[in-house]
């Protein structure tokens, strides 16, 4: 197993290299980070020229990539524009943990991500928990009560939810749970932010503000996951070994949880393994609608500003996470299913 993981990690290196090259090339043309740097006016030509030089954007793409990857502290750069490379570079490069600095916010990208990541993890972690618990419960219940009214209702509703764009659910839930109750003088959910400034960032406040975004996020995924769980559970329940377990006089509940769930959760593990790493990137649309200060908003705002170091860092971070989680999924899979052995 150790060797397998090591080999997979090794294989991931060229993959991540390819990804970083593709992304870096894309980054060259997602907009002009200097265009809006001067506030509301297009940037002055002299400043544009100077900033390009100071930020290293005047270098050939290949050189920029090298600086991004391994840093430029081994060479000198020209800061004052006299054509002489006089100053030692300061960047360490991604390989040494330096994700560069935001062009717009002028801070290390790592700091920016560090500020937003906890918020995203909180939102998305809660969401993933809600979805998992909900989907497993719903999936098992519908599978066990196959063809009951409940099962039909869940199937129908999940089909509809599954077909909804998340912004539509978000808008609807805002309208029905915040705007309308407020008009009617009923208690209503907050729609924006993580907490009321007056109340401060307290745990109840944050939970209260998390309700609508988590709801909007969860409903769609819940629909997909629970259908998946249901069919996976149905398949497992029709297996011979479940019949065996029942024939042994084991309790229904015990059969369900000790015998069926572990098998049924195998395909779900793959799904989660795909889902989890993308959570790091946050929920772009949801965070935007509900003003949640997370990674998704950081990503979208950074794309809008063509703040390429931030965009690049987030994408690479998510990519690394996806790759790592793929390996992790395999490991967990092997743990859950003893039939699987890697070398």
């Amino acid at each position: 197993m150790g060797r397998y993981v090591a080999r997979r990690l090794l294989q991931a290196v060229p993959l991540l290299f390819i990804i970083s090259v593709i992304l870096f090339v894309l980054m060259q043309s997602i907009g002009d980070p200097l265009a809006t740097m001067s506030g509301r006016r297009p940037t002055r030509s002299a400043d544009r020229e100077r900033l390009k030089r100071q930020l290293g954007l005047d270098q050939p793409v290949l050189m920029q990539y090298v600086y991004w990857l391994v840093g430029n502290d081994w060479t000198s750069i020209d800061l004052d524009g006299d054509g002489v490379r006089e100053t030692r570079g300061e960047r360490k490069g991604v390989l040494r943990g330096d994700l560069g600095r935001s062009l717009k916010k002028r801070q290390p990208v790592l700091d920016l991500i560090g500020e937003r990541l906890p918020n995203t993890l909180l939102l998305m972690g809660t969401y993933e928990m809600v979805v998992l618990v909900g989907a497993v419960a719903l999936g098992i219940y519908s599978a066990v009560r196959q063809y009951s009214i409940f099962d039909h209702a869940v199937t129908g509703v999940s089909f509809v939810l599954y077909s909804m764009p998340i912004f539509f659910i978000a808008l609807l839930s805002m309208y029905l749970l915040a705007v309308k109750p407020k008009q009617w003088g009923l208690p209503y959910f907050p729609t924006v932010g993580m907490f009321e400034p007056e109340a401060g960032k307290t745990v109840p406040q944050v939970i209260w503000h998390m309700v609508l975004p988590v709801l909007s996020l969860s409903l769609i995924s819940l629909a997909g996951y629970s259908r998946y769980m249901r069919s996976s559970m149905l398949e497992v329940l029709s297996q011979d070994y479940i019949r065996t377990a029942k024939s042994k006089g084991l309790e229904r509940r015990y059969v369900l949880f000790a015998h069926a769930l572990k098998n049924a959760s195998l395909p779900i593990v793959t799904l989660i393994g795909l889902d989890l790493p993308t959570l790091l990137g946050g929920a772009i649309v949801t965070e935007r609608i509900f003003g949640w200060p997370g990674m998704g908003r950081l990503f979208f705002d950074s794309v809008s500003d063509a703040d390429t170091p931030v965009v690049m860092a987030i994408l690479m971070m998510v990519s690394v996470a996806v790759v790592v989680f793929q390996i992790l999924t395999d490991v967990i899979y092997a743990w859950l299913d003893p039939r699987i052995r890697y070398e």
Binding site: S247, G249, N263
Partner: protein, 330 residues
């Protein structure tokens, strides 16, 4: 000498409601099993043998399955009227069942030890350590070497025959009074088949339990069972002591079956091809004798009316309008 009655099944009817239509799987079968007795149930694949057994143990998924009628009295209690909780006390402890395919019948993600001990813990109230010791004994009993180490193994680490031994050990863990063996050797290699049969026969003697052996292979029945029931399309068409059945078959279907079996100890044929035609669709509500279309003795009445299972000789029942010995209607 009549041994005490253990299981009395009467008029069992099981159906499945599928999108394709209703499947008439078991159509009112009745039989009795006495203590220590071995009963064989013979029939082609899909004639309702397994369903009839699983029906009485409540292993039919409902829906789509439905037990339309019948009783199954086990020691004066009707299994079909029991609550799920009561049934759980019977299954595995009183009536155990081993299945056809040992590859799929053991849970692949749980260790063998776990699958045996969970049962002992549930039915015998054993502590985990105690149960583990008992499991080792059981595995040794069914002939698995190095049993203690193998408790931690998963089913896929066993060969097919060994797996079936595990299955048997597991199902006999609580010394049940009835063992239902649902074609336990079908999926195994021929050499292994014999070993398993010998094992089961040995264990039957040691435990002194009654047994219902389900098979589509008349050949295996001879050395094993005392009585034989022949099933066709959800009906029992003939029931007799094993010697009577082989020497004096009275139902046209049984006769055809035996005719397709040149010698008892010979290797089985997979399909009984020599009976013309195919078994009827179970999707059609049975009207008349289901074997009629393939029967060489068919008479008009067969098409319209299902013959009841009637005693025609001591301990010999058939469901047929025709007396095949004399020809013509009985």
């Amino acid at each position: 000498m009549e041994r005490p009655l253990l299981l009395d099944v009467a008029d069992l009817q099981t159906r499945f409601h599928t999108p394709e239509g209703t499947v008439y799987a078991v159509n009112g079968i009745s039989y009795r099993l006495h203590e220590g007795e071995t009963l064989a149930m013979v029939g082609e694949s899909g004639c309702g043998k397994s369903v009839s057994m699983m029906s009485i143990l409540g292993l039919i998924p409902i829906p789509p399955g439905e037990i339309v009628s019948g009783t199954a009295r086990y020691r004066d209690r009707d299994l079909l009227r029991m609550s799920e909780e009561e049934l759980e006390q019977v299954r595995g402890k009183e009536i155990a069942m081993i299945f056809q395919d040992p590859m799929t019948s053991l849970n692949p993600v749980l260790t063998v030890g776990k699958q045996i001990t969970e049962m002992l813990q549930k039915h015998m109230g054993m502590k985990p350590a105690e149960a583990a010791d008992r499991a080792v004994q059981l595995l040794e009993w069914v002939g698995i070497p190095d049993a203690r180490r193998r408790l931690a193994d998963y089913p896929h680490q066993f060969s097919g025959g060994m797996r079936q031994r595990v299955m048997i050990a597991m199902q006999l863990a609580c010394t049940p009074s009835i063992l239902i063996a649902d074609e336990p050797t079908t999926a195994l290699d021929v050499t292994i088949q014999a070993q398993i049969m010998d094992l089961v026969i040995r264990l039957r003697e040691e435990v002194g339990m009654a047994m219902i052996w389900i098979t589509h292979n008349l050949g295996v029945v001879a050395g094993l069972a005392e009585r034989v029931m022949v099933m066709y399309a959800g009906f029992i068409v003939e029931e007799a002591n094993v010697d009577d059945l082989f020497q004096d078959p009275r139902h046209p279907y049984t006769i055809a079956l035996l005719a397709a079996l040149p010698r008892v100890d010979r290797r089985r044929d997979r399909r009984l091809k020599s009976i013309p035609g195919a078994p009827p669709s179970l999707l059609v509500k049975p009207r008349g004798c289901p074997f009629a279309p393939r029967c060489e003795f068919v008479i008009a009445r067969c098409q319209s009316e299902m013959p009841p299972l009637e005693l025609i000789a001591p301990r010999h029942k058939i469901a047929c309008w025709v007396d095949v010995l004399r020809g013509g209607s009985r």
